[in-house]
Symmetry: C2
Subunit: 425 residues, 2 copies
């Protein structure tokens, strides 16, 4: 204790400093530089000012510490000619665990946030059903609900890495990848409401439409709607926030964010795919032959190192905690591997919590930075065996004009100054 | 469809209207009064104002809907002679799922909230250790962490039901039981930090002390500290809120709230229990023989119906969703039963999400209110087989002067007007 060198106290599991993921949980960190002091306690420690007088008491609605208020969403793509459009990205580099606080959940709006009075909002189910139905908010509250953690990811997330030939030197986890968030969603299984309306045998699709001024609509496969889709009314315990669809949104677990229609007001059963405007102008995957793939619904197996990440600075050589998030639109995460040498050698990361299906999973691995150059990558494998691809693989498959559904391996370069930057590797 | 009567379409599983919990998930609700309309769609539905023009765009920090802003904590016990003291209760009747948003997590302070600068905060581990250690915030961020959902419950929660001979006619789920909340906590296993300090074999207890002006301290059994206790730095993804202990708190999963020392600044290993002031003046269980039980650490197996609950109003006879939360400080919830006739007959409720250990579990069951009188109760059983007791059982065990650790069955009376009130049954 206290005298071991890193070589004695750790076992390296991949090149350039990666340490066995179980190491820090099962053994001591003694001697590997963890800012500890063997001191005469009480002499060096002064009683801080905040321990000398009572502070403010309880409140009706709690706030963050002023020292944590720099954690904000990053607004993008707003344009006076496109009122209410654009979005905001979650500060992934500041978040830990798997849940995104509601105030920091990413947004993507096509005509801004409608100011819906829940008492006047309607949800219609019609089309190929035995009996068209109209629900109001209060009626929906009487239905049985389910509560589950699910991620939502915009299909345009991480698109810059495909669009831009050169890496974004100033990019952060937030600015490049912040269109993914995770919450406990509570809502009514859509199958319950569809059963009540009585879906006719000719129906194959559901046209889902929101109450925003864009009438944002998406085509949903009936099989999904009857599987795990829900009409979500609550998000992390409280009513769904206006920016996420208050009073209710469609939630198609694992599917591209845009299909989770916010401010949901209509579900129309159809025989053929309804083909909404945004399904041709957006959200398609281009191919090298100039054709495009439509209806890429489940988001790919993906992971991202959030710390260290772009714009961070390693102050000096020593042990760091590499931490990040992994997810798959097709189920759970089986494994996350981490590389410190640009993908030549890999070590298995520790999963820090539960392995939820179609939800963010937190991983970490200890890493000893020698002070030399490093390229940090993570690679997720989901429980279907699907492995996160490289950037080159995706570009080869889709040509150089694709921008949606990018789930490629992300690389953070560390230089000898300790600066961390987005790189392509 | 649409013509079935309740008798035809439901199967009753206990007296006074309780319906099989699987019913609403597996069958249709058609015909049981769910506010549906068989209408010519498009004629009766008007385009609402908020669908006619773009709304506001994305923002850096999201807010709630103005229609949901009535969900606030309820402040209690503040006193100018006791600056910063008192607490605030979570609005349980408005929350769904299992997570409490951080702004609504209950509080209980003994000298208010210290305004801690994390860069100056220290965590000391000393006493019976091989090497005393001091950690700062940045050093702690380098450690491996775990993320798990855990409830925290004040041991004084629901105490009014034991103290008061007559039920509180104006009591709500919040005012009577709102000192329980649940979050995803992310932090360092305490065993990791204790291993690094090197616990000596004579140590049996840990004295945990906070940096508030009350120097709030509690005695923690070493066995717990080495089991699942953590030094929590994050709560639902973001830094622990000041009201919950920013920048770090002790988290002893399942143990009474007060042991989860906020603003944690010292952990001192001792051979004997340190016996802090608040462990004699408060948090003991009185017994009929005038002795008191000390150190009742794990919170009892408990459940609570949050809807319908006190001060709610059933507008007319029909199907309602009875919903509530269940938890146990000793592990997971195996089963929740619901009664509509004051405990004479019971039906098993549906668990609406995952069965997490030492976390809130959401249950529900459909109930047809006939318009007559009813007494609604829930009864949890944990996976150790421990069953939630009646109020009479607890009063008989502890005499009539007990106030802490009340986990008795709660009764909500419904009268023929549909008014819901706290009753003793």
């Amino acid at each position: 204790m206290g005298k071991q060198t890193p070589q004695e106290s750790t076992d390296k599991v991949a090149a350039n400093g990666l340490i066995n993921r179980r190491h820090l949980l099962s053994l001591s960190l003694g001697g590997v530089g963890m800012a500890v002091a063997n001191t005469v306690l009480g002499q060096e420690l002064q009683i801080p000012s905040w321990s000398r007088m009572p502070g403010p008491g309880p409140s009706a609605y709690g706030n963050r510490s002023p020292y944590a208020e720099n954690m904000l969403r990053l607004i993008y793509n707003t344009d006076p000619l496109y009122p209410g459009g654009g979005g905001s990205r979650s500060p992934l580099q500041h978040l830990h665990g798997t849940i995104t606080p509601n105030s920091l959940h990413f947004e993507r709006h096509h005509a801004g946030i409608p100011a819906i009075n829940p008492e006047q909002h309607k949800l219609v189910i019609n089309g190929l059903v035995r009996q068209p139905l109209v629900f109001n908010y209060e009626a929906l509250l009487r239905y049985p609900m389910v509560s589950k953690l699910y991620f939502v990811e915009c299909s345009g997330n991480s698109g810059a890495l495909l669009r831009q030939a050169e890496p974004d030197q100033s990019g952060t986890a937030q600015s490049l990848h912040g269109l993914v968030s995770c919450a406990e969603w509570t809502g009514i299984p859509l199958s319950t409401l569809l059963d009540e309306a009585g879906v006719l045998s000719e129906a194959n699709w559901v046209a889902a439409v929101g109450a925003d001024a864009a009438s944002m609509g998406r085509s949903i496969l009936l099989g999904k709607a009857l599987d795990d889709s829900m009409v979500a009314l609550f998000q992390n315990g409280e009513p769904v926030r206006p920016g996420q669809g208050y009073p209710l949104r469609l939630l198609n677990p694992g599917w591209e964010g845009n299909t989770n229609v916010k401010w949901l007001t209509q579900l129309k059963l159809t025989a053929e795919a309804p083909h909404f405007r945004d399904e041709t102008s957006k959200y398609t995957d281009t191919l090298p032959n100039r054709f495009s793939l439509k209806f890429t619904f489940p988001m790919g197996t993906k992971s991202l190192i959030t710390s260290p990440s772009g714009q961070m600075m390693l102050e000096k050589p020593g042990i760091y905690r590499i931490s990040g998030i992994a997810w798959s639109g097709s189920g759970g995460i089986r494994r996350v591997e981490v590389s410190a040498d640009g993908g030549r050698s890999w070590a298995e990361a520790l999963i820090e919590g539960q392995l939820n299906e179609k939800a963010l999973t937190r991983f970490s691995i200890p890493w000893e930075w020698s002070g030399g150059e490093a390229v940090l990558q993570s690679r997720a494998t989901d429980n279907q065996g699907s492995v996160q691809p490289t950037r080159d693989t995706i570009l080869a498959e889709r040509g150089n004009i694709t921008a949606y559904h990018n789930h490629c391996i992300q690389s953070w370069g560390v230089n000898t100054m300790g600066e961390v930057r987005n790189v392509y590797a």
